[in-house]
Point group: C2
Chain length 316, copies 2
DNA sequence: CTGAAAGCGCTAACAC
DNA sequence: GTGTTAGCGCTTTCAG
């Protein structure tokens, strides 16, 4: 509707002066400032953000790449990011990929089109070689550790945490331990889980690992397999509390007792795990999200490690 | 970096021609089209979105007002909205209010600044009189029914659903029924719950209703009160499955059996409810979100009712 | 303290 | 088919 020229004309000043009062510049006489403000109020005028963004070359919008938006773990990181975005007056755009590498690249190119000031990657499909070129257009922050110096990281030291979790299970007397992972071997956290497992127990038997677990249902299905192996595992390390809950549910349904018949350890300290009293490794994802946001707006390439903690409940 | 002029100059054509190939206009000779495309590829050029948005007067960005971003119910709606946004090539900006009315108004004014093409309100703090003026700047869609003709609605018929839920409990022989709600009496769904309750059971006794329940912990605390009343309720209708899970957890912890000692009915068919086999009223929030998005981009002011369904499990 | 004017990067009449 | 040009709405030198 009304633009800055209309305001200027009506107030009998130049657009420059209007711009000055809009941006609280000094060197505007109180008289004109009031005159302009009156017209602004009268017209209920608000400056056009696109024009400002165009000229400033920034939008105060940051994008968050997540694979699924209905996954508790990513929601936690998003939660942390949103916390900080409000504090710093940024807007956040949610960019769900369903692990589609092409879509991920499209999202990254929103840096180049100047639509986004920065992007935070909570989980990725492309390799870093494909991602880093986009840092030329704006900061890219990862919630996973990477050596690439162009990428700032607010990361979880998953390897250490996995090793500790497996040792914990071992200490409790478990030798036959199974685990679930979110993705196949192309994912770093899956590989880390494997490596940590090997360090503690040696190479995992093929039927002790179940891939592609995201939801409770996936956990349920995993348990259907794991708990019917002849040499069935005495403990299961799930890659999330929802998955653990599914395992729990199935175990109970076939009359097993937890932890007597099978011990269960989850991840991320989600409400459902609390409800079922499942012990869990809390990677403090909210904090990871908050830190990621800070790195993003600072255009920092630091590598910040987020501490984890094990929460003991009654499932192991 | 490079802009459309650079491309034009390098390709030996006018900016118009470049713009034409960018937007797949016809009436560009194959020869020039190729020449331009080559330069575009060579420079890895992408048009600036702010410039385009400025001139077009739209951003293909829609905002979603939610109170909390870590609440399963709102996540479900957001999920539906994101589904459709990808399909239609829109971006979605998450706008968490924590029920701060002032912040909500600020978000609404993003329509006026032309930052957003539309906004979807999943839950509001302001009254409609304060909200409707913003429809002058762009479509506002509500996930709650309202008579205001300026507002499109993709709504749940909560009143009917609540009545049915309470009748169901009554049929099962329950006379002393308690319930939880998310907010105090200023919220429409709270009022609807009250009215529905009255229709079925008459005026609720004050200690049979617990306000401000959002999370499992809130449910736990609600149960701590409800299950220690002398005339304790024989059934509880929770305002979400997470809340129901908290109630479940506390009931179990004091040795009660569900549904024998207390029946439990949840809402929204969330994973946690499935895990605990809690019967639930599924308001199909994902679908509500999808429909809301469709209304938003169609600039429709239709009032669409989303059907609900009761899922029978073993908690009642 | 104030304003004219030159852009930011792009689209779309309009003319040729 | 193609190019010239006038904006979109704002910020920011640069002169007064």
């Amino acid at each position: 509707m009304a633009n800055i020229h209309d305001i200027a004309k009506k107030a009998g000043v130049s657009v420059t002066t209007v711009s000055r009062v809009l941006n609280n510049h000094k060197y505007v006489s109180e008289e004109k400032r009031i005159a302009v403000q009156n017209v602004i109020d009268e017209f209920n005028y608000t400056p056009n953000r696109n024009a400002i963004d165009l000229i400033r070359g920034e939008t105060r919008q940051i994008g968050v790449i997540i694979p699924y938006n209905n996954n508790q773990a990513f929601d936690q990181m998003l939660h942390g990011i949103l916390n900080k975005s409000i504090e710093h007056e940024y807007s956040v755009i949610v960019l769900p990929t369903t692990y589609d590498a092409k879509k991920e690249l499209e999202y990254l190119s929103m840096l180049q089109t100047k639509m986004l000031d920065a992007v935070i990657i909570t989980s990725r499909s492309n390799n870093w070689e494909a991602i880093t070129p986009f840092t030329k257009y704006g900061p890219i922050i990862s919630c996973e550790y990477t050596d690439f110096s162009e990428i700032g990281c607010s990361y979880i030291d998953r390897y250490t945490s996995y090793v500790e979790a497996f040792y914990l299970l071992k200490e409790r007397g478990h030798e036959r331990v199974a685990f679930t992972t979110a993705r196949e071997m192309e994912s770093k956290s899956t590989i880390q889980t494997f490596t940590a497992y090997e360090e503690v127990f040696g190479k995992p038997s093929g039927d002790y690992v179940i891939f592609n677990c995201y939801s409770m249902q996936d956990g349920y299905r995993a348990a259907q397999k794991l708990l019917h192996i002849k040499e069935k595992p005495t403990a299961i390390y799930a890659n999330g509390d929802e998955v653990a809950a599914g395992i729990y549910q199935y175990a109970i349904s076939i009359g097993m007792h937890i932890p007597r018949d099978v011990a269960l350890l989850g991840q991320e300290n989600q409400p459902i795990g609390e409800a079922l009293a499942i012990s869990t490794v809390d990677h403090q994802l909210i904090q990871a999200g908050e830190q990621a946001f800070e790195l993003a707006i600072k255009k920092s390439k630091d590598k910040i490690k987020i501490p984890y903690q094990i929460i003991h409940r009654s499932s192991i």
